[in-house]
């Protein structure tokens, strides 16, 4: 159990700071879909793939004092900001397992993107068994309120390819 928590801490330490619960959910889902060893179970919710298990782990890490969570008002809603604490760093020293260095690269890259975009990327990945044309349709159905444009969806496809090549290039080196 604790080793799975350590993988979440690893991602947050790598990113230095993750702003938004939704963003963290999508980053871990995308990392899992890129075959990094995250084991949380995801299914489809309002904002795309979501893991109740991951929510729980993050809450536990906050309660254990390993993660610092700051709730802040942004416009009309609240968002959460996560950083590793000193105790979290000590815990990580004991429980951290060797993870591929490309994971860090992908995490850092994803962390620069907006949570709206990562929501789209993770949703495209969720439906990636469908033909491309059906994915456009599916996104307009299940994400009608977000009003994603075709250009944004194309950008999401490109981004997935760039992440995949980041992972593959490293493997070949």
């Amino acid at each position: 159990m604790l080793f799975e928590h350590a993988k979440i801490l690893h991602a947050i330490r790598t990113a230095k700071e993750v702003v938004g619960r939704k963003k963290l959910q999508k980053m871990i889902y995308i990392a899992k879909r890129l075959s990094f060893p995250y084991q949380e179970k995801f299914d489809f919710h309002f904002y795309g793939p979501y893991s109740e298990e991951l929510t729980l782990q993050v809450e536990e890490l906050v309660n254990m004092g390993f993660l610092d969570e700051v709730k802040e008002k942004k416009g009309g809603y609240f968002q959460y900001r996560y950083q590793l604490t000193k105790n979290g760093g000590e815990f990580l020293e004991l429980f951290e397992q060797k993870l591929p260095s490309t994971l860090d690269e992908c995490i850092n890259d994803m962390n620069k993107k907006s949570s709206r975009f990562l929501e789209l990327v993770s949703t495209v990945l969720y439906f990636d068994a469908l033909p491309r044309e059906d994915i456009y349709k599916k996104i307009s159905q299940v994400k009608s309120k977000q009003r994603y444009t075709k250009e944004e969806i194309d950008e999401a496809f490109q981004y997935i390819e760039s992440l995949k090549s980041m992972v593959n290039n490293q493997q070949m080196e």
């Binding site: 390993f66 416009g75 968002q79 429980f95």
Partner: protein
């Protein structure tokens, strides 16, 4: 008459201890129940290892699936019928999705999914869309009907109201399993007034709402759910059985990867061990098959596999202590070292297990939460979120409760014929006498 509209000449009923009768008039439903993929659910227990604690909990996913179907049937035929917001053409879709929502569950699903890293939802989709009897029946309705049913179950359909009937914080799935599990475990909690809840349900564009006059019945449902999670579903003894089950599967997988020569070749497991389970193999796996392997694995040469199988089958479970990972994680690492020194493999015999539940949560517009709230319809037509109206629900909203336990085989630690000093140190750290 089209197959979708075809009715049986006479209504069929299944006698049921929870709903008294399950009523079937639709040919499609009758044919689905008769498929081999649905009949397989008779051989999969609804509550996994809970029978080790509550011996009555031997009921199957078959009876639960029929129960969910019956609740949805009553909602759409008795409560929603004729209401403006309800599209009657979604009736059959709702009934089929309710009946088939758990179709992909395998034996001891939770443990299998954890160890072999797959989701039963994947198999639900695969059975509905694949080369199966269920798919053949659904295709008789229309070529795209299997896809529509699969999308409702996966929550990726645009029909949000239909999804909310089987997947929300108060849905037919939860209502059936709470009542059914309470009945079969014999516990006194878990009961609530489902009749009243059904009577106050109203269809809205995106989800079901509840008339304010039924709020107390909804409160009772939420409290029942809370009690059932902590008294039944997270019972520490059942969790001990679950821990051992997971470790058996881990061990068998590890041995397979090490090219261990099994006396009884686990051919039903091979594709799972190799991370590419095939639908055909998966459908052959039910609890009778799994328990057969556990029996024969007691004769294996590997001491860990045979011991764990013996423990599971004979209920020689692991003992446990409360454990706080925040303050005791260094102790955990010490225990790992001591277990290794004592010759007891900590990977299989020292297990930290957590249970957690959030009884009810609500979504505030614009926030990042993912739970659909329970909405009340007020007498003036306004819609209000439940916890804003109910003090009881407000008190538990968003409050997660978590429990951590550390499991270990006390009998091995008590045997001081070998590694006496290490075992004594372990017992001291665990706070165990003798």
């Amino acid at each position: 008459m089209s197959y979708a509209m075809e009715k049986l000449r006479e209504e069929k009923v299944f006698k049921d201890p929870v709903h008294r009768y399950i009523h079937v008039r639709d040919r499609v439903i009758w044919d689905l129940v008769g498929t081999k993929e649905f009949q397989r659910l008779r051989r999969i227990k609804q509550l996994g290892t809970t029978f080790l604690t509550f011996h009555g909990a031997e009921h199957s996913r078959f009876s639960h699936s029929l129960g969910v179907y019956e609740i949805v049937r009553r909602i759409v035929d008795d409560v929603f019928k004729g209401r403006q917001e309800w599209d009657e053409s979604d009736r059959l879709l709702s009934l089929c999705a309710a009946l088939l929502h758990d179709l992909g569950h395998g034996p001891f699903s939770h443990a299998f999914e954890k160890v072999f890293q797959f989701d039963h939802e994947y198999f639900t989709q695969a059975i509905i869309m694949g080369d199966t009897e269920v798919n053949q029946v659904l295709r008789l309705v229309s070529a795209d009907f299997p896809k529509k049913v699969a999308e409702v179950i996966a929550k990726t359909s645009e029909k949000k109201l239909v999804i909310s009937l089987i997947s929300s914080q108060i849905d037919a799935d939860r209502m059936d399993y709470l009542l059914r599990d309470a009945y079969f475990t014999g516990v006194s909690y878990g009961h609530f007034d489902m009749e009243r809840i059904l009577r106050v349900m109203r269809p809205k564009e995106d989800q079901v709402v509840f008339k304010k006059s039924g709020m107390h019945a909804v409160e009772d449902y939420i409290m029942s759910r809370y009690q059932m999670y902590w008294q039944v579903y997270f019972h520490p003894v059942s969790r001990s059985g679950e821990v051992i089950l997971q470790k058996i599967l881990h061990r068998a997988k590890e041995l397979h990867e090490q090219f261990y020569h099994f006396k009884h070749e686990p051919k039903h497991f091979v594709t799972l061990f190799e991370g590419k389970p095939k639908l055909k193999d998966y459908l052959e796996l039910d609890e009778s098959v799994v328990l057969y392997y556990f029996h024969v694995w007691q004769e294996e040469d590997d001491p860990i596999l045979k011991d764990l199988c013996y423990r599971f089958l004979n209920r020689h479970l692991f003992k446990y202590i409360e454990f706080d990972p925040a303050t005791e994680y260094k102790k955990y690492m010490k225990l790992v070292t001591l277990f290794t020194d004592a010759g007891i493999n900590p990977e299989y015999y020292l297990v930290l297990d957590s249970s957690s539940d959030l009884p009810y949560d609500f979504y505030r517009p614009g926030e990042e939460e993912e739970r659909l709230p329970i909405q009340l319809s007020m007498s003036n037509g306004e819609i209000r979120e439940l916890s804003r109206q109910s003090e009881i629900v407000e008190a538990i909203s968003g409050k997660r409760r978590t429990d951590h336990k550390l499991y270990f085989p006390l009998d091995l630690l008590k045997d001081e014929s070998t590694k006496k000093n290490e075992k004594r140190q372990i017992k001291e750290l665990l706070g165990i006498n003798g």
